[in-house]
């Protein structure tokens, strides 16, 4: 019979034991592989959970629209994602929310800086050096600013006030205040400058181009000052720098300037324009700036058009310069008066102070302020 013969023929056809062992071995390994496959989704889920844990609070903190949705859905969840933190200590300095007063669409917040235990940095006026940031969560179109209020010797606290105004009444949105730098040991000194010591003669006067770090203008003088700064052989770009070049007084001051001191390097007047140039030392190690008042022989105060600031490296050391321009008529420089208010903050403390609190509408049942 064919069937028997065929089966007999194929009886001898067998897979080799070696190959079978290989497959059996693979089956054994497959058991572990299955475990890995089973573990893989667990690991993936863990990674996803970690990502969510990191990204959701970050999104809530940085994307106001997202925060508003969370706040609408669950205020508790909103508080979990962006918790209320009314005090923050860093680098031995404590930032604290002292009081919040909300009236309609306006809010006043009092913040304070004080020394942490074992530190002694706050003992006078403090400057935030424009390093603060106000972030409103849940609100619409807030505008505001932060300014130094006072230093209280008794409590050894430096107070700041934040004024906020919103398009609509505040309900219960949150405000986050972050501060990146504090200038401590701030001092202020007013003194009259002896003009003759710094006046440049026509022969001494020269100009050179610098690339500025910053500039400030009087609102009305914007166009005029820009035109004047650039009229003197400027208007062209420095070849290796896209920032505009401006002309400032070219003064040999190498021997006069110091890194930790403010020095007037030169003053020059011509055709109704007065220029005062100062070297403020190295501003990375502290802040130094000056506010000028110039009165002519008639006692009339000259208008400050604005100024520019730039930095230079001299003998391997950094120096920050600024030049201020005035506009006005001067007949006799010897009879004019230059007054300067010199501000100096000897210590700069960098950090990341951050407080978050609610701007809750006052119900009228209690005091108008939430005093802490």
């Amino acid at each position: 019979m064919f069937r028997e013969d065929y089966q007999l023929a194929y009886k001898g056809i067998k897979v080799s034991e070696e190959l079978k062992k290989k497959v059996l071995l693979e089956a054994g390994e497959e058991k572990h592989a299955k475990r890995r496959e089973w573990l893989s989704p667990v690991v993936m889920a863990a990674v996803m959970i970690i990502c969510l844990c990191v990204s959701v609070p970050a999104a809530a903190e940085n994307v106001p629209a997202f925060y508003r949705i969370v706040e609408e859905l669950s205020p508790k969840l909103a508080d979990t994602l962006v918790p209320i933190e009314e005090e923050c200590e860093e680098k031995g300095i404590i930032l604290c929310v002292e009081a919040v007063n909300v009236q309609g669409n306006q809010a006043e917040i009092i913040l304070s800086f004080r020394d942490g235990e074992g530190y002694d940095k706050i003992h006078g006026e403090v400057d935030l050096f424009d390093s603060y940031r106000l972030t409103s969560l849940g609100g619409n179109g807030n505008v505001g600013g932060c300014s130094f209020l006072k230093y209280d010797e008794e409590t050894d606290k430096a107070y700041f006030k934040i004024d906020l105004r919103a398009d609509e009444d505040f309900s219960r949105e949150k405000l986050t205040v972050t501060v990146g730098e504090l200038l401590c040991e701030k001092s202020k000194e007013e003194r009259e400058i002896e003009l003759s010591e710094y006046l440049l003669t026509e022969t001494e006067y020269g100009i050179r181009k610098v690339t500025v770090n910053g500039k400030s203008w009087n609102d009305e003088s914007w166009g005029k000052l820009e035109e004047m700064f650039r009229a003197e052989k400027t208007g062209e770009e420095l070849p290796d720098d896209p920032r505009p070049a401006y002309c400032v007084m070219d003064i040999e001051c190498k021997d006069k300037i110091q890194q930790d001191e403010q020095v007037i390097t030169g003053i020059f007047y011509r055709d109704g324009i007065l220029k005062i140039q100062t070297c403020n030392g190295d501003l990375t190690k502290g802040d130094r700036h000056v506010q000028w008042k110039f009165r002519n022989e008639k006692g009339e105060e000259l208008t400050i058009l604005g100024g520019v600031g730039w930095k230079e490296e001299i003998d391997g050391k950094r120096y920050d310069f600024e030049e201020t321009w005035f506009e006005g008529s001067v007949e006799n420089l010897d009879e004019c008066q230059l007054l300067g208010t010199f501000y100096e903050s000897k210590e700069s403390v960098r950090g990341n102070w951050k407080v978050t609190f609610r701007l809750q509408q006052d119900t009228g049942e209690n005091d108008s302020d939430r005093i802490r």
Partner: protein
């Protein structure tokens, strides 16, 4: 709801032990050489281990192994290498045609290996039904289910295969 296989490591080993020869023999009958049969054998069990199929019973499991083996062999024929080899073979008018009388005579011997060699000369579609019918003892219905062909088609193929075999084997083997 998706069904999950409850197989254990031991059941895997049992299945490999039980169906190894079946898979290998079928692959060998279709591919006609041990090397290719070994490749298909490994592929089939790789698929079994990785796809973790769910079986409704032992019959279902056996059918699954047979079907996957046949599919793997068919895929094997479609590989570039096999197409090239077959092209050469076709130029010699060996593959997929009836053997020449001299080959018949050469193969016409009663020894089992000679029988295998003779069956190898049949076209692949006939070798499948011959192997499943005569070696695996499957019914026409079972073969039709595995090959996903009508039972009448399988019956026709089997009849033609027998006729060819009778022609090849002449009176030395009785095909029924």
């Amino acid at each position: 709801m998706q069904k999950k296989s409850l197989r254990t490591d031991d059941s895997c080993r049992e299945d490999i032990e039980r169906y190894s020869d079946m898979v290998y023999k079928l692959a060998f009958s279709l591919l006609k050489n041990e090397y290719d049969a070994e490749d298909v054998y490994q592929d089939v069990f790789y698929q079994y281990l990785h796809k973790n199929p769910v079986f409704q019973g032992e019959e279902h499991k056996k059918a699954w192994f047979l079907r996957v083996t046949i599919n793997r062999c068919r895929n094997f024929f479609h590989t570039a290498w096999m197409l090239k080899v077959m092209g050469i073979q076709k130029s010699g008018e060996v593959e997929e045609t009836m053997p020449s009388p001299s080959a018949e005579e050469e193969a016409l011997k009663k020894e089992p290996d000679k029988l295998i060699e003779l069956v190898k000369t049949l076209p692949q579609k006939y070798r499948v039904v011959i192997h499943l019918f005569y070696y695996e003892d499957l019914s026409i219905e079972e073969i039709s289910s595995i090959l996903k062909k009508k039972p009448s088609t399988v019956r026709t193929q089997l009849t033609r295969a027998r006729a060819l075999l009778k022609e090849v084997l002449k009176e030395d083997f009785y095909v029924s």
